[in-house]
């Protein structure tokens, strides 16, 4: 996250400003009030007698409220300012701002307080790509408020700005003539309403105002309840308690309430720019958080099922039965200049949907949902065989149908250059990446269980088991690189094995598709100096042609990737190795105050002794927030078994004791504890007691 800006959000409405609370002052930092993927305010500047006050301090109260403390510039360091300014801002259907000025003078004083306001109504995609608007912006003063608007054909967006104190309002802002007695105080509130934020969504007032006594406590209570419902964690290594609490609070902020789901929430992908439903990110985060906040998984399944593809639509990469990649609501999506209405360019979301459906039932015992989503699950299975396997070779591969705005890579490593051969040369489309085949194998076996137990279709169960067994056999032959002893990253459009050593092989352990012998060889690679940095497994191994420790998918370490790999290691019985990865990632988390970034550099831990953050736009990122939770599951060996919760701890010695109490599930609530007994090797990969 950019350190020059601060953000607050509620759902998909958020405000990004500079540290003084102003918006749109530095062209380098994208700031604004955003709602439903449109920038509703792009300029918001406070001046006192024509000058910007200086920053004293910023208080990030919580994810939806913030305070800015300012004082006029005296021009000299030694002169005390004679005024103080407080700006307190709360977001919700726009934002509410309380502006307070305190005089420290012995004489009365008159001030001109000015708020400049403007909006470019940019689509989020335009903010990123700096594109020209096609419609017209307008401004007018009406009913003691400033209306900023945008129109393109019938597409309209409007922001309404008003104040509770008398103001002179013009088309570029509000001016207050303020008189302050000696040591006096003046205050006004400012309401910036995202009045027409989306078609069908009209707001006449902001959600929270200073006079709403219940507003803040109500939201606060919501957060309190959220934390109370989650299991309690106690650990002799105190940092884990802080990391766990950080994850819970961040998950609360990342909750996204889709209109379709009647007040239920699912995890959005990242804050603030990715506060929307992403198939892959919402599914992975739901899988990671199942033992702690299982309601997220239920909502994710229902929301994704409701948007499942029904037809072939090249522009949206839609196919019958396919699970979505991303939904957006801005102007470019509305006018089909971008395909996100919704966009289906993801080849792994569909099998991951099936995996989550089964895993959700295993944890919660909610058979009703499995039955309710039977048709959708069958359609997803059909997609895998009919549309996912594009060339009939028995593997799911991807290639966008939308050459202009579709995604090049439709797997989790979705940057354009992530699929390289060992010599650094690019592979060709369509690509069947190895981890997607693992997901398909796992999905088919899991659906066989669901078909037998809930769908009363033993024939389908048998067919799926047979197909999974055949897939496993073929995969272990076709993807194996015997000379290098690991699985190829992908098979490309020319039928060539993409032979770079990557973290993707860890996902194959998670899915269970790797033969035991081959898994052993993969574990050796995962824990080798080429892949394991001391903090975690790199996306690509040192020594490969494309390796770059600060390349997005070419050598950085991703916490979510590592949490999946740790689970895979546990699945195959590699307890110490799983603990070593968990210890490395959790150790890195303490350098980020408990909040893991999306990715950090792949430098050797012994070299830097510090995890160097990869600069990304979003923090927190949902699947990084979920990573510690999945690592805790791996450390304690939590596994549902019928109506029981199995606990099989594999903790490093540096964690003397770990207790997780009241783990929700089909068993009601259960506790899990473990004592650290494992020797995980060199000190550089262990947990530091303090920084």
């Amino acid at each position: 996250m950019d350190t020059n800006t601060v953000s607050i959000l509620e759902g998909n409405t958020f405000v990004v400003s500079d540290l003084r609370g102003d918006i749109g002052i530095s062209p380098a930092d994208p700031t604004g009030l955003f709602s439903w993927d449109t920038r509703m305010l792009s300029h918001w500047l406070l001046t006192i007698d024509g000058a910007r006050p200086n920053l004293l301090s910023t208080d990030d109260l919580n994810y939806y409220a913030i305070q800015f403390f300012l004082a006029p510039d005296t021009g000299k360091v030694s002169f005390d300012a004679e005024l103080s300014l407080f700006r307190k801002r709360m977001v919700g259907k726009g934002f509410h701002e309380d502006l307070t000025i305190l005089s420290h003078k012995q004489e009365p004083i008159d001030l001109t307080v000015r708020i400049e306001a403007a909006s470019d109504f940019a689509d989020l995609f335009e903010v990123k790509d700096d594109l020209e608007k096609k419609g017209e912006c307008y401004q007018r003063v009406e009913d003691k408020r400033l209306i900023l608007g945008y129109r393109r054909e019938q597409f309209v967006r409007e922001t309404w700005i008003s104040a509770c104190e008398p103001a002179t309002i013009d088309e570029r802002g509000l001016t207050f003539a303020v008189h302050l007695e000696p040591h006096g105080r003046w205050t006004t509130c400012l309401n910036v309403v995202a009045a027409i934020a989306m078609s069908g969504i009209h707001n006449t007032r902001v959600k929270y105002q200073h006079e709403d006594k219940e507003a803040k406590p109500e939201m606060q209570l919501n957060l309190e309840q959220w934390r109370e419902n989650a299991p309690r964690l106690m650990c002799s290594w105190n940092w884990l308690e802080r990391i766990y609490q950080r994850s819970l609070v961040d998950l609360a902020a990342l909750r996204y309430f889709p209109a379709l789901m009647f007040g239920k929430s699912l995890p959005a992908a990242g804050l603030p720019w990715f506060m929307t439903i992403f198939g892959r990110d919402s599914l992975i985060t739901s899988l990671q958080t199942l033992p702690f906040t299982p309601e997220l998984a239920g909502t994710t399944l229902l929301a994704l099922a409701a948007r499942q593809g029904t037809m072939i639509d090249d522009f949206r990469d839609e196919e019958p039965g396919k699970i979505i990649h991303e939904v957006r609501f801005g102007e470019m999506t509305a006018f089909e200049e971008r395909p996100h209405s919704p966009y289906y360019g993801s080849a792994d979301a569909t099998p991951l949907f099936l995996i989550l459906l089964d895993e959700y039932e295993r944890w919660t015992g909610n058979a009703q949902l499995v039955c309710r989503l039977e048709l959708e699950a069958r359609a997803a299975l059909r997609w895998i065989d009919v549309y996912g396997d594009r060339n009939g070779d028995g593997y799911v591969e991807y290639e966008t149908r939308n050459k202009e705005t579709g995604l090049e890579n439709q797997c989790w490593k979705d940057s354009w250059n992530s699929m390289l051969f060992a010599d650094g040369s690019p592979s060709r489309l369509p690509r069947a990446t190895c981890e997607i085949q693992g997901y398909v194998y796992d999905a088919k076996l899991r659906c066989a269980r669901l078909a037998r137990l809930f769908w009363h279709d033993p024939a389908l169960a048998e067919r799926l088991e047979k197909e999974a067994a055949e897939l496993k056999q073929r995969f272990n032959e076709d993807f194996w690189l015997p000379e290098r002893e690991f699985f190829a990253l992908a098979i490309d459009g020319d039928g060539r094995k993409v032979d770079s050593l990557t973290s993707n092989i860890g996902h194959l352990l998670w899915s269970g598709i790797a033969d035991e012998e081959k898994a052993r060889a993969c574990v050796r690679h995962l824990m080798s100096e080429q892949l394991f940095s001391g903090w975690g497994v790199r996306t690509m191994a040192e020594g490969e042609g494309g390796y770059n420790p600060i390349g997005y998918h070419l050598g950085t370490v991703w916490p979510h990737d590592n949490s999946i790999i740790a689970c895979g290691l546990r699945r195959y019985g590699y307890r110490a190795e799983a603990a070593r990865i968990a210890a490395g990632i959790l150790a890195a988390a303490i350098y980020f105050k408990g909040r893991l970034p999306e990715a950090f550099a792949g430098y050797q831990r012994a070299l830097t002794r510090f995890p160097v953050e990869y600069p990304t736009a979003c923090s927190p990122q949902a699947w990084s927030t979920g990573a510690p939770l999945l690592l805790i599951r791996a450390l304690l060996g939590l596994e549902p078994d019928g109506e029981h919760l199995l606990v099989d701890p594999a903790l490093p010695r540096s964690i003397k004791q770990l207790d997780v109490l009241d783990i929700p599930g089909r068993w009601g609530r259960m506790d899990a504890s473990g004592l650290g007994k494992l020797d995980i090797g060199d000190v550089h990969s262990d947990l530091p007691l303090a920084l």
Partner: protein, 124 residues
């Protein structure tokens, strides 16, 4: 154009049940400019079409040309709504679920799923 709109509602009535709406219940009203209104009552996928106008949970308002283009598959219903060409009064979620009915083509429809030997689940 008007004929295609009337025909759509007739076909909808004849269909009687739509698996894509199996978990949807609600009452819709379609106000189509110059064509009048139709009521569609959905209960767990069972569909009833009426010209007697019920109290609706979700009203979709459109001009004739846009609605006809949606039925022809020339205009995506979601982006028509996002552009402001189709107005929704009431439940946006019901509107979103119904739009799937405009987007099925017989050759690619998920309806084929029933042929997989599907049986109703006892838990539902």
């Amino acid at each position: 154009m008007g004929d295609s709109i009337a025909a759509f509602f007739e076909q909808l009535a004849a269909r009687g049940y739509e698996p894509l709406l199996h978990s949807v219940s609600g009452t819709y009203r379609f106000d189509i400019e110059d064509q009048g209104s139709w009521g569609v009552i959905v209960k767990d996928g069972a569909i009833e079409v009426t010209r007697k106008l019920p109290k609706a949970d979700c009203v979709l308002i459109s001009d004739r040309e846009i609605f006809a283009r949606i039925l022809q598959g020339e205009q995506n219903p979601t982006t028509a709504f996002m552009q402001g060409k189709v107005q929704v009064v009431g439940s946006l979620s019901l509107a979103q679920l119904f739009q799937r009915l405009f987007r099925i083509r017989p050759e690619t429809s998920l309806n084929g799923r029933e042929k997989d030997g599907y049986q109703h689940c006892e838990h539902s």
